[in-house]
């Protein structure tokens, strides 16, 4: 009787909501989306409701999704790449199964990741064809492989596919048997296995409203969550193999979905769908153009070279640049500045050129404009004042401009030329603030522990940065814990002298902790090699010495560096003591960097050498830095014979991360990004020591390659 009432309630709610949208349906203009939008499904990937389509998200577009289809709750993210690929990942919470009964973890949660690749793009009469896999590493509880075709006919996007795994009504662990990485084994397994068709239609009624119908090939009786270890934990009440639903765009970036699944239950979801654009919701306000007033011009006109250099240095600093150094000769000016204003180096160069052109008297005909990173000139533009004006006024093009003027990686050659000028002034350095103070809230999360899925530590982090000398940074950082669940975490050291699995010992304590207290000095060595040396408390667990060198080659597209840290363990309970019975550890790496596909921002980094526990190996870091966002993943494979714990011996430390520019949330261009990283289970394998600054990896946008590419921006 109760089921009957529920079933009626469900149907009534669905019908009511359907009729609520009916006026929109009637009023909806006839329109044909071009190209058809890849709309979010109930799950993290784009698709119909539970079935995939051949559509993928547009390049650098993201969906953040929540879906609820009893007994499953989906929390996921999908990312579109190059208009051809969609990668997606999600946590699936299964409310019919307790993961660690009695330990407070709650419902079972499964991590899944997948990818879909467009094999053939839609043409006049050809459909778009894509192939995809889902749940490709780990338990394969929701493992699936498929090929699917989608074709837009008028306002109807019709999809038809063939699926295996759960899309063929199978439970993948049953197919694969007792293998360690079932999902990966399934991925490589023979294609000759049970295959079922699936498909559906999306009807784009208006730009906001879409109706969906699909034939679902899933057999819920075999799904994890309905059956567990051979015991039925939830009855499948499916009456028809069809799902119907509505997708509605509430705001341009917010979508809601409501579906009637298998004629027996309601499902719903909501997702954020937005492009990764640094100019976020507000749009960056344009900066007022630089104007040199008559008084300043007169001062510059009457000034000798020394005074002129001082005037320019002051003006550049007042405009917001840092680490400013200026010198003048009779006919040329040399300006160095750190670009802490703009994401684009071109905009920084453009602004510096405007200041020079506005202030300098007519006798100054050559500008040397240098952008510094970590106190080192990384790119240097030498240009004639006339050519610069001609380029900005579109009288000459970029190619002609660079025929007579040069942009180089590092500034040594230009400096030699400049120093040959007549009547040189001394270099005027504008002093920056030598003190910076920052208080920020931090949340540290321990995910997926048996004592609870989310274990958090909330703290206030206070940092003081001092800049007493050129290239020197002294940082003191103290953490005050406000809320700490790390003491509940069941996570224990795996080795006698663990490098990282004792992390809970350091985090469980709620007393104030000095997390960093170190000095770091950067300076240039011959042949444009940048060198960094540091000493002090680098992180809550380690203190010692650090050394690093790095040099770019080939316009910044390649880079090579060396890095080493020699550290000892800190006492977890005493801020000023070292652990007495631990060895001195050291790392030694060769760091390699390559921007392999610059126009798409694809970069590869290699860290080869000895990791903290003495395990030798390599960390491969593949990332895409595009539109000032970076999304990447790294994978660390080392010789684990140095470990005694089987968990460490089997480990390969990996992570996915995203770096988001702060400017997304601002109405003006500001530098700085925050990083969010999800790593695999903490092990002692493949570990490194955090440093207060690092030379590798750097932002690719600081290099001459990108400046040359975007040089047309000088005209804006």
């Amino acid at each position: 009787m109760r089921k009957l009432i529920q079933s009626r309630v469900t149907r009534c709610v669905f019908i009511l909501i359907f009729f609520f949208f009916l006026p929109h349906l009637c009023l909806g203009d006839s329109f044909s989306p071009s190209p058809p939008l890849a709309l979010g499904s109930l799950q993290c990937y784009t698709g119909l409701l539970n079935m995939p389509t051949a559509r993928v998200l547009g390049d650098w577009r993201v969906i953040v999704n929540y879906g609820n289809d009893d007994p499953y709750s989906y929390y996921g993210v999908a990312l579109g790449l190059f208009d051809r690929i969609e990668v997606h990942g999600q946590f699936t919470e299964v409310n019919t199964i307790e993961a660690f009964p009695g330990q407070g973890y709650g419902h079972y949660k499964d991590r899944s990741a997948g990818v879909r690749v467009v094999l053939l793009k839609e043409r006049d009469w050809l459909p778009q064809i894509a192939a995809g896999v889902f749940d490709v590493t780990g338990t394969a509880l929701f493992g699936q492989r498929y090929v699917v075709a989608s074709k837009l006919i008028h306002n109807f996007d019709i999809s038809f596919g063939l699926g295996q795994g759960i899309l063929a009504g199978r439970f993948v662990p049953d197919i694969i048997g007792n293998k360690r990485d079932k999902a990966f084994a399934y991925l490589l397994s023979s294609p000759r296995q049970t295959t079922r068709p699936f498909g559906g239609v999306q009807w784009f009624i208006s730009p906001r409203l879409t109706l969906v119908g699909e034939y679902s090939s899933i057999d819920y009786k075999n799904m994890f969550g309905f059956i567990h270890n051979g015991v039925v934990v939830k009855e499948d009440h499916s009456r028809i193999p069809f799902n119907f639903g509505i997708k509605y765009k509430i705001f341009p970036f917010l979508n809601a979905k409501l579906a009637y699944i298998r004629g027996c239950r309601l499902a719903f979801g909501v997702n954020l769908n937005f492009p990764l654009e640094p100019e976020g919701f507000l749009g960056w306000k344009k900066e007022a153009p630089y104007v040199a007033y008559e008084r300043l011009k007169w001062k510059a006109y009457l000034a000798d070279n020394d005074k002129l250099a001082s005037l320019i240095a002051k003006e550049v600093k007042e405009d917001g640049f840092k680490d400013v150094r200026v010198a003048c000769s009779d006919s040329a000016v040399w300006v160095e500045a750190a670009n802490n204003k703009y994401w684009s180096s071109v905009r920084a160069i453009s602004r510096l050129c405007s200041i020079l052109d506005g202030v300098c008297p007519p006798r100054i005909q050559t500008f040397y404009v240098n952008l510094k990173v970590d106190s080192q000139v990384l790119q240097s533009l030498k240009c004639s004042r006339e050519d610069l004006r001609a380029f900005i006024e579109s009288r000459i093009d970029k190619k002609t401009f660079f025929l007579y003027n040069s942009l180089s990686l590092y500034g040594d050659n230009h400096l030699k030329e400049f120093l040959n000028g007549r009547d040189l002034s001394r270099f005027h350095r504008e002093r920056d603030d030598w003190f910076r103070f920052k208080i920020e809230p931090k949340v540290r999360t321990f995910l997926n522990n048996r004592r609870g899925f989310f274990k958090n530590k909330v703290l206030i982090q206070t940092s003081v940065d001092l800049y007493p000398l050129e290239g020197m940074l002294i940082r003191g950082q103290i953490e005050h814990t406000l809320y700490n669940q790390f003491k509940d975490v069941a996570f224990y050291s795996l080795e006698k002298e663990p490098t990282r699995t004792d992390i809970v010992l350091y985090e469980r304590n709620s007393a104030p902790r000095i997390s960093q207290m170190a000095v770091d000095q950067v300076f240039s060595l011959p042949w444009d090699i940048l060198f960094r040396a540091s000493a002090g408390y680098f992180e809550t667990g380690y203190a010692g010495l650090g050394f690093e060198s790095f040099r770019y080659f080939h316009n910044g597209l390649l880079g090579l560096g060396l890095e080493s840290e020699i550290v000892k363990k800190r006492d977890p309970d005493d801020n000023f003591k070292m652990e007495p019975h631990t060895s001195t550890l050291y790392t030694a790496f060769l760091n390699c960097y390559a921007n392999v596909w610059p126009s798409k921002g694809i970069e590869v980094g290699l860290k080869v050498g000895r990791f903290l526990a003495g395990d030798k190996g390599v960390r491969v870091d593949i990332r895409r830095s595009f539109k000032y966002f970076t999304i990447g993943a790294w994978y660390t494979k080392t010789d684990t014979s140095v470990f005694s714990s089987p968990k460490n011996r089997e480990a390969s430390y990996k992570a996915v991360y995203i770096k988001v520019p702060f400017a997304v949330f601002k109405d003006k261009e500001v530098r700085g990004r925050f990083t969010y990283m999800i790593t695999s289970f903490t092990r002692d394998q493949g570990q490194t020591v955090e440093q207060i600054r690092s030379l590798y990896p750097m932002d690719p946008w600081e290099t001459p390659y990108y400046t040359r590419q975007d040089f047309e921006e000088m005209r804006k």
Binding site: N68, V270, E279, E294
Partner: protein, 262 residues
């Protein structure tokens, strides 16, 4: 085991309706205007605000929402619309006046509950009173030595706060220099230009007493004709530069000394 999460669904729908339902619409008024007039003006203002909001951003693709709202409101203000009923504005303006007292013997202007010192050797010429929307504007004109004219403007807005802007210099003038005192509570500019064939130099300053009360000082004086050749990238000859330099130094010093303590 939960058979069906109706509770979650209703919570989801409630949030959805909440999001859809939030919003507030300003009612705009204009004496003698109809809804049709408002629709026409609003359409024009929306189009203009979209354009300005796009042009205000770096890429000119996105719109700056704040600029859009400001431009939209400013445009409607400029077309005579006000979020306050016109009767109320008129009533307030009628009732409200800026009370001031000019004491030329002791060179003091008392306004906004402050004693504002006046420069010596000036003669009071006349006073004008007007209002622009909900802003009352009283101008006091003085004449100083050597054809120097001084204008003190008392402004009080009855509805909106004044924006924090640099001293606005008319396009017919070129700026000689700009500056500010006391955390931008006083902003000033000195400028020059050719008006009806004569070179003129000026000094202007805005002193904000509160978000709705401010004093504007404008001083203009003739500039000597150019002697000798002007350098190629400059607008003034050296003797003119010397003249405006001392004029600027004198008035900025006076403002700093006499007005920054108010």
């Amino acid at each position: 085991m939960r058979p069906f999460s109706l509770k979650r669904l209703f919570l989801f729908l409630a949030i959805l309706l909440g999001v859809l339902g939030c919003g507030h619409r300003t009612i705009w008024y204009k004496k003698g205007a109809t809804q049709w007039d408002f629709n026409r003006d609003e359409q024009e203002c929306i189009a203009l605000a979209h354009k300005l909001a796009r042009e205000a951003t770096v890429g000119e693709k996105k719109e700056n929402i704040l600029v859009f709202l400001q431009a939209y409101q400013q445009c409607l203000f400029n077309k005579g619309w006000s979020p306050v009923p016109p009767q109320r504005v008129q009533e307030v303006i009628k009732r409200k006046r800026i009370s001031y007292h000019l004491d030329l013997s002791s060179h003091v202007l008392v306004a906004f509950n402050r004693q504002i010192p006046l420069p010596s050797n000036i003669v009071f010429l006349r006073e004008t009173r007007r209002s622009y929307g909900p802003t009352l504007i009283y101008s006091l004109f003085f004449r100083g030595k050597g054809n120097t004219f001084l204008n003190l403007i008392l402004q009080e807005s009855l509805e909106r706060a004044f924006k924090d802007i640099p001293y606005p210099v008319q396009p017919c003038y070129l700026i000689y220099d700009r500056g500010s005192f006391r955390d931008r509570r006083i902003v000033w500019a000195s400028y020059f230009g050719r008006i009806k064939g004569y070179m003129v130099m000026g000094f202007g300053a805005i002193l904000r007493f509160s978000s709705r009360q401010r004093l504007i000082l404008v001083v203009t004086s003739p500039m000597p004709p150019a002697r000798g050749k002007k350098p190629a990238y400059l607008h003034l000859a050296e003797n003119q530069m010397r003249a405006i330099e001392s004029f600027t130094a004198r008035w900025s010093k006076w403002v700093k000394k006499n007005l920054s303590s108010l």
